[in-house]
Amino acid sequence: MNEVVVRLALTVSQIAVVMGVVLLTVALLTLMERKVLSWMQDRMGPMEVGPYGILQPVADGLKLFFKEDIIPAGANKIMFSMAPILVLVPALIGFAVIPFGPSWNVEVFGVQFKPFVVSDLNIGVLYILAFTSIGAYGIILGGWSSNSKYSLLGGLRAAAQLISYELNVGLAIVGVLLLSGSLSLVTITEGQLGGFWNWYAFAPPFPQFVAFVVFLIASIAETNRIPFDLPEAESELVAGFFTEYSGMRFAFFFLAEYANMILVSCVATVLFFGGWDAPLPILQAPGDLAWVTGIMWFSLKVAFFLFLFFWIRATLPRLRYDQLMRFGWKVLLPIALGNVVITSIMAYIFH
Protein backbone atom coordinates (compact mmCIF):
# COMPACT_ATOMS: atom_id res chain seq x y z
CA MET A 1 0.00 0.00 0.00
CA ASN A 2 2.67 2.42 1.09
CA GLU A 3 4.75 1.61 -1.96
CA VAL A 4 1.80 2.30 -4.27
CA VAL A 5 1.21 5.70 -2.67
CA VAL A 6 4.88 6.67 -2.94
CA ARG A 7 5.07 5.53 -6.56
CA LEU A 8 1.88 7.43 -7.40
CA ALA A 9 3.14 10.60 -5.73
CA LEU A 10 6.49 10.34 -7.54
CA THR A 11 4.87 9.76 -10.94
CA VAL A 12 2.34 12.54 -10.51
CA SER A 13 5.03 15.01 -9.47
CA GLN A 14 7.16 13.93 -12.46
CA ILE A 15 4.22 14.44 -14.80
CA ALA A 16 3.52 17.84 -13.25
CA VAL A 17 7.12 18.95 -13.74
CA VAL A 18 7.30 17.70 -17.34
CA MET A 19 3.95 19.23 -18.28
CA GLY A 20 4.87 22.51 -16.60
CA VAL A 21 8.16 22.71 -18.47
CA VAL A 22 6.56 21.77 -21.78
CA LEU A 23 3.74 24.31 -21.46
CA LEU A 24 6.18 27.04 -20.39
CA THR A 25 8.32 26.18 -23.39
CA VAL A 26 5.24 26.43 -25.61
CA ALA A 27 4.53 29.90 -24.22
CA LEU A 28 8.15 30.86 -24.80
CA LEU A 29 8.07 29.41 -28.32
CA THR A 30 5.08 31.50 -29.38
CA LEU A 31 7.10 34.58 -28.48
CA MET A 32 10.44 33.35 -29.82
CA GLU A 33 8.93 32.29 -33.13
CA ARG A 34 7.56 35.78 -33.73
CA LYS A 35 10.79 37.39 -32.53
CA VAL A 36 13.18 35.21 -34.53
CA LEU A 37 11.00 35.49 -37.62
CA SER A 38 10.94 39.27 -37.26
CA TRP A 39 14.69 39.51 -36.78
CA MET A 40 15.24 37.48 -39.92
CA GLN A 41 12.86 39.75 -41.84
CA ASP A 42 14.36 43.03 -40.52
CA ARG A 43 11.40 43.70 -38.28
CA MET A 44 11.10 43.98 -34.52
CA GLY A 45 8.22 41.67 -33.62
CA PRO A 46 6.04 42.26 -30.57
CA MET A 47 7.42 45.22 -28.60
CA GLU A 48 4.43 46.63 -26.69
CA VAL A 49 3.61 44.23 -23.85
CA GLY A 50 6.37 44.41 -21.27
CA PRO A 51 10.02 45.26 -22.00
CA TYR A 52 10.82 44.13 -25.56
CA GLY A 53 7.45 42.39 -25.67
CA ILE A 54 8.43 39.51 -23.39
CA LEU A 55 4.98 39.41 -21.77
CA GLN A 56 3.26 38.90 -25.12
CA PRO A 57 2.43 35.19 -24.44
CA VAL A 58 0.61 36.23 -21.25
CA ALA A 59 -1.41 38.83 -23.15
CA ASP A 60 -2.17 36.32 -25.92
CA GLY A 61 -3.28 33.70 -23.41
CA LEU A 62 -5.55 36.14 -21.56
CA LYS A 63 -7.08 37.32 -24.80
CA LEU A 64 -7.78 33.80 -26.04
CA PHE A 65 -9.13 32.75 -22.63
CA PHE A 66 -11.69 35.54 -22.45
CA LYS A 67 -12.72 35.44 -26.09
CA GLU A 68 -16.19 34.37 -27.12
CA ASP A 69 -16.42 30.66 -27.83
CA ILE A 70 -18.35 30.33 -31.08
CA ILE A 71 -19.84 27.08 -32.35
CA PRO A 72 -20.94 27.71 -35.94
CA ALA A 73 -24.49 26.90 -37.01
CA GLY A 74 -24.70 23.47 -38.59
CA ALA A 75 -21.53 22.24 -36.89
CA ASN A 76 -21.47 18.83 -35.30
CA LYS A 77 -21.24 20.01 -31.70
CA ILE A 78 -19.79 16.87 -30.12
CA MET A 79 -17.09 16.45 -32.76
CA PHE A 80 -16.46 20.18 -32.82
CA SER A 81 -15.71 20.32 -29.10
CA MET A 82 -13.86 17.00 -29.07
CA ALA A 83 -11.43 17.79 -31.92
CA PRO A 84 -9.18 20.28 -30.05
CA ILE A 85 -8.83 17.87 -27.13
CA LEU A 86 -8.08 15.05 -29.54
CA VAL A 87 -5.28 17.17 -31.00
CA LEU A 88 -3.81 18.47 -27.77
CA VAL A 89 -3.79 15.32 -25.63
CA PRO A 90 -1.70 13.14 -28.01
CA ALA A 91 0.74 16.01 -28.47
CA LEU A 92 1.31 16.28 -24.71
CA ILE A 93 1.10 12.57 -23.90
CA GLY A 94 4.11 11.78 -26.09
CA PHE A 95 6.45 13.43 -23.58
CA ALA A 96 5.85 10.50 -21.20
CA VAL A 97 8.56 8.38 -22.83
CA ILE A 98 11.17 11.07 -23.59
CA PRO A 99 14.29 10.69 -21.41
CA PHE A 100 15.47 14.17 -20.43
CA GLY A 101 18.51 13.13 -18.43
CA PRO A 102 20.66 10.14 -17.46
CA SER A 103 18.81 6.85 -17.02
CA TRP A 104 19.67 6.48 -13.34
CA ASN A 105 17.67 4.49 -10.86
CA VAL A 106 17.01 6.43 -7.67
CA GLU A 107 15.58 4.86 -4.54
CA VAL A 108 13.04 7.00 -2.65
CA PHE A 109 11.32 5.44 0.41
CA GLY A 110 12.13 1.97 -0.86
CA VAL A 111 10.79 2.61 -4.36
CA GLN A 112 13.03 2.39 -7.42
CA PHE A 113 12.28 4.99 -10.07
CA LYS A 114 13.94 6.84 -12.92
CA PRO A 115 13.90 10.57 -12.18
CA PHE A 116 14.45 11.85 -15.74
CA VAL A 117 11.87 9.86 -17.68
CA VAL A 118 8.21 9.64 -16.75
CA SER A 119 7.77 6.12 -18.04
CA ASP A 120 10.46 3.96 -19.64
CA LEU A 121 8.19 2.03 -22.00
CA ASN A 122 9.92 -0.74 -23.94
CA ILE A 123 7.89 0.30 -27.04
CA GLY A 124 8.49 4.05 -26.67
CA VAL A 125 9.00 4.80 -30.35
CA LEU A 126 5.84 2.95 -31.38
CA TYR A 127 3.95 4.74 -28.61
CA ILE A 128 4.96 8.15 -29.95
CA LEU A 129 4.16 7.20 -33.55
CA ALA A 130 0.75 5.87 -32.51
CA PHE A 131 -0.21 8.97 -30.57
CA THR A 132 0.95 11.44 -33.21
CA SER A 133 -1.31 9.55 -35.64
CA ILE A 134 -4.25 10.03 -33.28
CA GLY A 135 -3.52 13.76 -33.38
CA ALA A 136 -4.24 13.62 -37.13
CA TYR A 137 -7.77 12.39 -36.31
CA GLY A 138 -8.36 15.53 -34.27
CA ILE A 139 -7.33 17.72 -37.19
CA ILE A 140 -9.52 15.84 -39.66
CA LEU A 141 -12.52 15.82 -37.31
CA GLY A 142 -12.06 19.50 -36.50
CA GLY A 143 -12.02 20.29 -40.21
CA TRP A 144 -15.03 18.15 -40.99
CA SER A 145 -17.26 19.12 -38.06
CA SER A 146 -16.95 22.88 -38.59
CA ASN A 147 -19.43 22.80 -41.49
CA SER A 148 -17.19 25.05 -43.55
CA LYS A 149 -15.66 24.41 -46.94
CA TYR A 150 -12.30 25.85 -46.00
CA SER A 151 -12.11 23.73 -42.87
CA LEU A 152 -13.09 20.60 -44.75
CA LEU A 153 -10.44 21.23 -47.41
CA GLY A 154 -7.85 21.82 -44.71
CA GLY A 155 -8.84 18.64 -42.90
CA LEU A 156 -8.65 16.56 -46.08
CA ARG A 157 -5.26 17.98 -46.96
CA ALA A 158 -4.09 17.19 -43.43
CA ALA A 159 -5.30 13.62 -43.79
CA ALA A 160 -3.46 12.99 -47.06
CA GLN A 161 -0.33 14.80 -45.92
CA LEU A 162 -0.10 13.11 -42.54
CA ILE A 163 -0.55 9.63 -44.00
CA SER A 164 2.15 10.23 -46.62
CA TYR A 165 4.67 11.68 -44.23
CA GLU A 166 3.92 9.41 -41.26
CA LEU A 167 5.25 6.61 -43.45
CA ASN A 168 8.53 8.44 -44.02
CA VAL A 169 8.94 9.18 -40.32
CA GLY A 170 8.45 5.51 -39.53
CA LEU A 171 10.89 4.32 -42.18
CA ALA A 172 13.52 6.88 -41.17
CA ILE A 173 13.35 5.60 -37.60
CA VAL A 174 13.76 1.96 -38.69
CA GLY A 175 17.47 2.50 -39.42
CA VAL A 176 18.06 3.63 -35.83
CA LEU A 177 16.06 0.70 -34.50
CA LEU A 178 18.19 -1.72 -36.54
CA LEU A 179 21.37 -0.29 -35.03
CA SER A 180 20.13 -0.08 -31.45
CA GLY A 181 17.99 -3.21 -31.37
CA SER A 182 15.43 -1.63 -29.09
CA LEU A 183 12.25 0.44 -29.21
CA SER A 184 12.79 2.00 -25.79
CA LEU A 185 14.00 5.59 -26.07
CA VAL A 186 16.15 5.16 -22.95
CA THR A 187 17.95 2.13 -24.39
CA ILE A 188 18.38 3.88 -27.74
CA THR A 189 20.05 6.84 -26.01
CA GLU A 190 22.22 4.56 -23.87
CA GLY A 191 23.51 3.01 -27.10
CA GLN A 192 24.87 6.40 -28.21
CA LEU A 193 26.72 7.54 -25.09
CA GLY A 194 30.36 8.67 -25.10
CA GLY A 195 30.80 11.55 -27.55
CA PHE A 196 29.31 12.71 -30.81
CA TRP A 197 31.02 10.00 -32.88
CA ASN A 198 28.73 7.50 -31.20
CA TRP A 199 25.52 9.34 -32.06
CA TYR A 200 23.49 7.45 -34.62
CA ALA A 201 23.57 10.40 -37.02
CA PHE A 202 27.37 9.98 -37.33
CA ALA A 203 28.14 6.55 -35.89
CA PRO A 204 29.71 3.63 -37.75
CA PRO A 205 28.95 1.18 -39.31
CA PHE A 206 26.48 3.27 -41.25
CA PRO A 207 25.77 6.92 -40.24
CA GLN A 208 22.06 7.62 -40.19
CA PHE A 209 22.48 11.22 -41.37
CA VAL A 210 20.35 10.69 -44.48
CA ALA A 211 17.69 9.08 -42.34
CA PHE A 212 17.91 12.10 -40.03
CA VAL A 213 17.32 14.52 -42.93
CA VAL A 214 14.34 12.43 -44.07
CA PHE A 215 13.03 12.37 -40.51
CA LEU A 216 13.44 16.13 -40.14
CA ILE A 217 11.63 16.95 -43.38
CA ALA A 218 8.86 14.47 -42.69
CA SER A 219 8.41 15.72 -39.14
CA ILE A 220 8.15 19.31 -40.35
CA ALA A 221 5.39 18.07 -42.63
CA GLU A 222 3.78 16.17 -39.78
CA THR A 223 3.63 19.20 -37.50
CA ASN A 224 2.05 21.25 -40.33
CA ARG A 225 4.84 23.79 -40.35
CA ILE A 226 5.93 25.98 -43.23
CA PRO A 227 6.91 24.93 -45.96
CA PHE A 228 4.43 22.06 -45.50
CA ASP A 229 1.59 24.03 -43.87
CA LEU A 230 -0.97 23.15 -46.53
CA PRO A 231 -3.73 22.21 -44.05
CA GLU A 232 -3.68 25.75 -42.68
CA ALA A 233 -2.54 27.63 -45.79
CA GLU A 234 -3.48 31.23 -44.99
CA SER A 235 -3.43 32.45 -48.57
CA GLU A 236 -5.66 29.66 -49.83
CA LEU A 237 -7.86 28.35 -47.00
CA VAL A 238 -8.24 31.33 -44.59
CA ALA A 239 -6.85 29.31 -41.68
CA GLY A 240 -7.49 25.75 -42.83
CA PHE A 241 -8.91 23.25 -40.40
CA PHE A 242 -9.31 25.71 -37.50
CA THR A 243 -10.99 28.48 -39.50
CA GLU A 244 -14.19 28.28 -37.45
CA TYR A 245 -12.52 27.94 -34.06
CA SER A 246 -12.16 30.78 -31.57
CA GLY A 247 -11.23 31.32 -27.96
CA MET A 248 -9.87 28.43 -25.91
CA ARG A 249 -10.57 25.79 -28.57
CA PHE A 250 -8.38 27.71 -31.01
CA ALA A 251 -5.77 28.01 -28.28
CA PHE A 252 -5.79 24.21 -27.93
CA PHE A 253 -4.93 23.78 -31.62
CA PHE A 254 -2.24 26.40 -31.23
CA LEU A 255 -0.78 24.72 -28.13
CA ALA A 256 -0.88 21.35 -29.86
CA GLU A 257 1.06 22.64 -32.86
CA TYR A 258 3.86 23.97 -30.68
CA ALA A 259 3.82 20.94 -28.34
CA ASN A 260 4.16 18.75 -31.42
CA MET A 261 7.15 20.81 -32.53
CA ILE A 262 8.84 20.26 -29.17
CA LEU A 263 7.97 16.56 -29.21
CA VAL A 264 9.41 16.09 -32.69
CA SER A 265 12.58 17.97 -31.69
CA CYS A 266 12.91 15.76 -28.61
CA VAL A 267 12.48 12.59 -30.69
CA ALA A 268 15.06 13.77 -33.23
CA THR A 269 17.47 14.54 -30.39
CA VAL A 270 16.98 11.18 -28.72
CA LEU A 271 17.09 9.04 -31.86
CA PHE A 272 19.83 10.70 -33.88
CA PHE A 273 21.77 13.07 -31.63
CA GLY A 274 22.40 11.15 -28.47
CA GLY A 275 19.76 12.59 -26.15
CA TRP A 276 21.42 13.80 -22.97
CA ASP A 277 24.93 12.81 -24.11
CA ALA A 278 27.57 15.54 -24.29
CA PRO A 279 29.29 16.01 -27.68
CA LEU A 280 32.67 15.40 -26.04
CA PRO A 281 33.13 13.34 -22.86
CA ILE A 282 35.10 16.25 -21.31
CA LEU A 283 32.01 18.48 -21.45
CA GLN A 284 30.18 16.28 -18.99
CA ALA A 285 30.15 16.99 -15.26
CA PRO A 286 31.68 14.15 -13.24
CA GLY A 287 29.84 11.77 -10.94
CA ASP A 288 26.54 12.73 -9.39
CA LEU A 289 26.42 16.10 -11.15
CA ALA A 290 26.22 14.51 -14.61
CA TRP A 291 22.45 15.02 -14.70
CA VAL A 292 22.92 18.83 -14.76
CA THR A 293 25.00 18.76 -17.94
CA GLY A 294 22.80 15.95 -19.26
CA ILE A 295 19.64 18.05 -19.09
CA MET A 296 21.58 21.06 -20.36
CA TRP A 297 22.82 19.25 -23.48
CA PHE A 298 19.39 17.77 -24.11
CA SER A 299 17.78 21.23 -23.89
CA LEU A 300 20.45 22.75 -26.12
CA LYS A 301 19.90 20.15 -28.82
CA VAL A 302 16.12 20.54 -28.64
CA ALA A 303 16.49 24.33 -28.75
CA PHE A 304 18.67 23.99 -31.85
CA PHE A 305 16.03 21.92 -33.62
CA LEU A 306 13.31 24.40 -32.64
CA PHE A 307 15.46 27.21 -34.01
CA LEU A 308 15.89 25.18 -37.19
CA PHE A 309 12.09 25.04 -37.49
CA PHE A 310 11.90 28.85 -37.27
CA TRP A 311 14.84 29.25 -39.62
CA ILE A 312 13.23 27.06 -42.27
CA ARG A 313 9.95 28.90 -41.80
CA ALA A 314 11.65 32.25 -42.36
CA THR A 315 13.36 31.00 -45.51
CA LEU A 316 11.03 28.82 -47.53
CA PRO A 317 7.69 29.46 -49.25
CA ARG A 318 4.85 26.94 -49.15
CA LEU A 319 4.90 23.93 -51.46
CA ARG A 320 2.17 23.30 -54.00
CA TYR A 321 -0.01 20.32 -53.18
CA ASP A 322 1.19 18.06 -56.01
CA GLN A 323 4.80 18.98 -55.21
CA LEU A 324 4.20 17.95 -51.62
CA MET A 325 2.80 14.57 -52.62
CA ARG A 326 5.50 13.96 -55.24
CA PHE A 327 8.23 14.86 -52.77
CA GLY A 328 6.79 12.59 -50.11
CA TRP A 329 6.15 9.52 -52.22
CA LYS A 330 8.74 9.76 -55.01
CA VAL A 331 11.73 11.26 -53.20
CA LEU A 332 11.60 10.71 -49.46
CA LEU A 333 10.07 7.22 -49.51
CA PRO A 334 12.71 5.65 -51.83
CA ILE A 335 15.50 7.34 -49.85
CA ALA A 336 14.11 6.04 -46.57
CA LEU A 337 13.66 2.54 -47.98
CA GLY A 338 17.17 2.53 -49.43
CA ASN A 339 18.51 3.67 -46.09
CA VAL A 340 16.76 0.78 -44.36
CA VAL A 341 18.24 -1.74 -46.82
CA ILE A 342 21.80 -0.41 -46.60
CA THR A 343 21.63 -0.07 -42.82
CA SER A 344 20.45 -3.65 -42.37
CA ILE A 345 23.24 -4.96 -44.62
CA MET A 346 25.82 -2.93 -42.71
CA ALA A 347 24.41 -3.96 -39.35
CA TYR A 348 24.49 -7.62 -40.43
CA ILE A 349 28.12 -7.38 -41.57
CA PHE A 350 29.60 -5.33 -38.74
CA HIS A 351 27.67 -6.50 -35.69
Binding site: V36, M40, M47, W311
Partner: protein, 179 residues
Protein backbone atom coordinates in the same frame (compact mmCIF):
# COMPACT_ATOMS: atom_id res chain seq x y z
CA UNK B 1 27.97 20.20 -65.39
CA UNK B 2 25.02 17.88 -65.11
CA UNK B 3 26.69 16.02 -62.26
CA UNK B 4 27.24 19.30 -60.47
CA UNK B 5 23.56 20.23 -60.78
CA UNK B 6 22.59 16.76 -59.59
CA UNK B 7 24.90 17.07 -56.60
CA UNK B 8 23.45 20.47 -55.75
CA UNK B 9 19.94 19.03 -55.75
CA UNK B 10 21.14 16.24 -53.51
CA UNK B 11 22.45 18.55 -50.78
CA UNK B 12 19.54 21.07 -51.08
CA UNK B 13 21.97 23.73 -52.33
CA UNK B 14 19.32 26.36 -53.17
CA UNK B 15 17.63 25.96 -49.80
CA UNK B 16 20.97 26.25 -48.00
CA UNK B 17 21.70 29.48 -49.90
CA UNK B 18 18.35 30.87 -48.82
CA UNK B 19 18.92 29.84 -45.22
CA UNK B 20 22.33 31.51 -45.27
CA UNK B 21 20.62 34.70 -46.41
CA UNK B 22 18.07 34.68 -43.58
CA UNK B 23 20.82 33.92 -41.07
CA UNK B 24 22.77 36.89 -42.38
CA UNK B 25 19.80 39.12 -41.68
CA UNK B 26 19.48 37.67 -38.17
CA UNK B 27 23.13 38.28 -37.35
CA UNK B 28 23.19 41.78 -38.87
CA UNK B 29 20.00 42.89 -37.15
CA UNK B 30 19.02 46.30 -38.52
CA UNK B 31 15.25 46.70 -38.19
CA UNK B 32 13.51 49.19 -40.44
CA UNK B 33 10.47 49.30 -38.17
CA UNK B 34 9.34 52.66 -36.81
CA UNK B 35 7.46 52.02 -33.57
CA UNK B 36 4.64 54.23 -34.75
CA UNK B 37 2.72 55.59 -31.77
CA UNK B 38 6.02 56.25 -29.95
CA UNK B 39 8.14 57.31 -32.92
CA UNK B 40 6.55 59.29 -35.71
CA UNK B 41 7.73 59.65 -39.23
CA UNK B 42 8.42 63.29 -40.19
CA UNK B 43 5.77 64.50 -42.64
CA UNK B 44 6.52 66.55 -45.75
CA UNK B 45 5.80 70.26 -45.30
CA UNK B 46 3.11 70.21 -47.99
CA UNK B 47 1.30 67.30 -46.32
CA UNK B 48 -2.46 67.63 -46.77
CA UNK B 49 -3.94 66.66 -43.42
CA UNK B 50 -6.89 67.83 -41.37
CA UNK B 51 -8.60 71.05 -42.48
CA UNK B 52 -8.74 74.07 -40.17
CA UNK B 53 -10.19 77.56 -39.98
CA UNK B 54 -7.77 80.35 -39.11
CA UNK B 55 -7.87 83.57 -37.15
CA UNK B 56 -5.94 86.81 -37.26
CA UNK B 57 -3.57 87.67 -34.46
CA UNK B 58 -6.28 89.64 -32.65
CA UNK B 59 -8.42 86.49 -32.56
CA UNK B 60 -10.93 87.67 -35.13
CA UNK B 61 -11.98 85.06 -37.67
CA UNK B 62 -10.56 85.33 -41.14
CA UNK B 63 -13.57 83.77 -42.84
CA UNK B 64 -15.87 86.22 -44.58
CA UNK B 65 -18.57 83.70 -45.42
CA UNK B 66 -18.19 83.99 -49.20
CA UNK B 67 -19.15 80.32 -49.91
CA UNK B 68 -16.35 79.91 -52.48
CA UNK B 69 -14.99 76.89 -50.60
CA UNK B 70 -18.40 75.27 -50.69
CA UNK B 71 -18.54 75.87 -54.43
CA UNK B 72 -15.02 74.51 -54.96
CA UNK B 73 -15.47 71.35 -52.91
CA UNK B 74 -15.82 68.30 -55.19
CA UNK B 75 -17.39 66.04 -52.56
CA UNK B 76 -19.70 68.55 -50.82
CA UNK B 77 -17.90 68.47 -47.50
CA UNK B 78 -18.44 72.11 -46.59
CA UNK B 79 -21.67 73.82 -45.65
CA UNK B 80 -21.51 77.58 -44.95
CA UNK B 81 -24.32 79.73 -43.55
CA UNK B 82 -23.32 83.30 -44.24
CA UNK B 83 -24.66 86.29 -42.34
CA UNK B 84 -24.08 89.99 -41.84
CA UNK B 85 -21.87 91.07 -39.01
CA UNK B 86 -24.35 92.43 -36.45
CA UNK B 87 -24.36 96.21 -36.58
CA UNK B 88 -22.09 96.40 -39.61
CA UNK B 89 -24.27 95.83 -42.67
CA UNK B 90 -21.43 95.97 -45.19
CA UNK B 91 -19.52 93.06 -43.65
CA UNK B 92 -20.34 89.40 -43.65
CA UNK B 93 -19.07 86.41 -41.77
CA UNK B 94 -19.76 82.68 -41.54
CA UNK B 95 -22.47 82.31 -38.95
CA UNK B 96 -22.26 78.53 -39.20
CA UNK B 97 -19.54 76.52 -40.88
CA UNK B 98 -19.74 72.71 -41.08
CA UNK B 99 -17.30 70.22 -42.49
CA UNK B 100 -18.32 66.57 -42.82
CA UNK B 101 -14.86 65.04 -42.71
CA UNK B 102 -16.20 61.55 -43.45
CA UNK B 103 -16.57 62.71 -47.06
CA UNK B 104 -13.44 64.80 -47.40
CA UNK B 105 -10.86 63.52 -49.86
CA UNK B 106 -8.17 66.02 -48.82
CA UNK B 107 -7.71 67.51 -52.27
CA UNK B 108 -7.06 71.01 -50.91
CA UNK B 109 -9.25 72.82 -53.45
CA UNK B 110 -11.14 74.72 -50.72
CA UNK B 111 -7.83 76.08 -49.46
CA UNK B 112 -6.93 77.26 -52.94
CA UNK B 113 -10.37 78.78 -53.45
CA UNK B 114 -10.38 80.85 -50.26
CA UNK B 115 -9.87 84.54 -51.10
CA UNK B 116 -8.79 85.56 -47.60
CA UNK B 117 -6.66 82.48 -46.72
CA UNK B 118 -9.05 81.54 -43.95
CA UNK B 119 -8.71 77.79 -44.61
CA UNK B 120 -5.55 75.75 -44.19
CA UNK B 121 -4.47 72.13 -44.12
CA UNK B 122 -2.66 70.96 -40.98
CA UNK B 123 -0.29 68.02 -40.42
CA UNK B 124 -2.84 66.20 -38.26
CA UNK B 125 -4.07 62.81 -39.42
CA UNK B 126 -4.83 60.78 -36.28
CA UNK B 127 -8.56 61.40 -36.39
CA UNK B 128 -9.94 57.92 -35.72
CA UNK B 129 -13.19 58.20 -33.76
CA UNK B 130 -15.57 55.61 -32.39
CA UNK B 131 -18.66 57.54 -33.46
CA UNK B 132 -18.75 58.50 -37.12
CA UNK B 133 -20.83 61.64 -36.41
CA UNK B 134 -17.95 63.02 -34.37
CA UNK B 135 -16.32 63.81 -37.69
CA UNK B 136 -19.06 66.30 -38.65
CA UNK B 137 -17.16 69.32 -37.40
CA UNK B 138 -18.62 72.75 -36.67
CA UNK B 139 -16.99 76.15 -36.75
CA UNK B 140 -15.72 76.12 -33.15
CA UNK B 141 -13.99 72.76 -33.63
CA UNK B 142 -12.40 73.84 -36.89
CA UNK B 143 -11.18 77.08 -35.31
CA UNK B 144 -9.73 75.06 -32.39
CA UNK B 145 -7.82 72.86 -34.83
CA UNK B 146 -6.50 75.99 -36.54
CA UNK B 147 -5.46 77.50 -33.21
CA UNK B 148 -3.46 74.47 -32.12
CA UNK B 149 -1.95 73.76 -35.54
CA UNK B 150 -0.91 77.33 -36.40
CA UNK B 151 0.06 79.14 -33.19
CA UNK B 152 1.76 81.92 -35.17
CA UNK B 153 -1.06 83.94 -36.70
CA UNK B 154 -1.20 86.37 -39.54
CA UNK B 155 -1.25 90.01 -38.56
CA UNK B 156 -4.44 91.80 -39.37
CA UNK B 157 -3.60 94.90 -41.35
CA UNK B 158 -4.96 98.12 -39.95
CA UNK B 159 -5.37 99.76 -43.31
CA UNK B 160 -6.32 97.57 -46.15
CA UNK B 161 -7.59 98.02 -49.61
CA UNK B 162 -11.28 98.90 -49.38
CA UNK B 163 -12.25 95.74 -51.23
CA UNK B 164 -10.34 93.55 -48.82
CA UNK B 165 -11.76 95.49 -45.93
CA UNK B 166 -15.15 94.78 -47.34
CA UNK B 167 -14.44 91.09 -47.09
CA UNK B 168 -13.01 91.28 -43.63
CA UNK B 169 -15.08 90.35 -40.64
CA UNK B 170 -15.46 91.63 -37.15
CA UNK B 171 -13.64 94.87 -37.52
CA UNK B 172 -14.67 96.30 -34.23
CA UNK B 173 -12.47 99.40 -34.28
CA UNK B 174 -12.07 99.97 -37.98
CA UNK B 175 -11.29 103.59 -38.67
CA UNK B 176 -13.97 105.47 -40.51
CA UNK B 177 -13.33 106.00 -44.17
CA UNK B 178 -12.50 109.56 -45.02
CA UNK B 179 -14.15 110.79 -48.16
Amino acid sequence: MKIKAWFRTLIFYEILVGMKQTMKHLLKYRPITLEYPHVKKPLPSNYRGMLALLRYDDDTEKCVGCDLCEAACPSRVIRVVSAEVPGEPTKRYAKEFYMDMTRCLFCGMCVQACPVDALAMTQEFEWAVSNKRDLDLNKEQLLAIGDRAFPVKEKRLEFQHPNVAYFNVSFKDIPEKEF
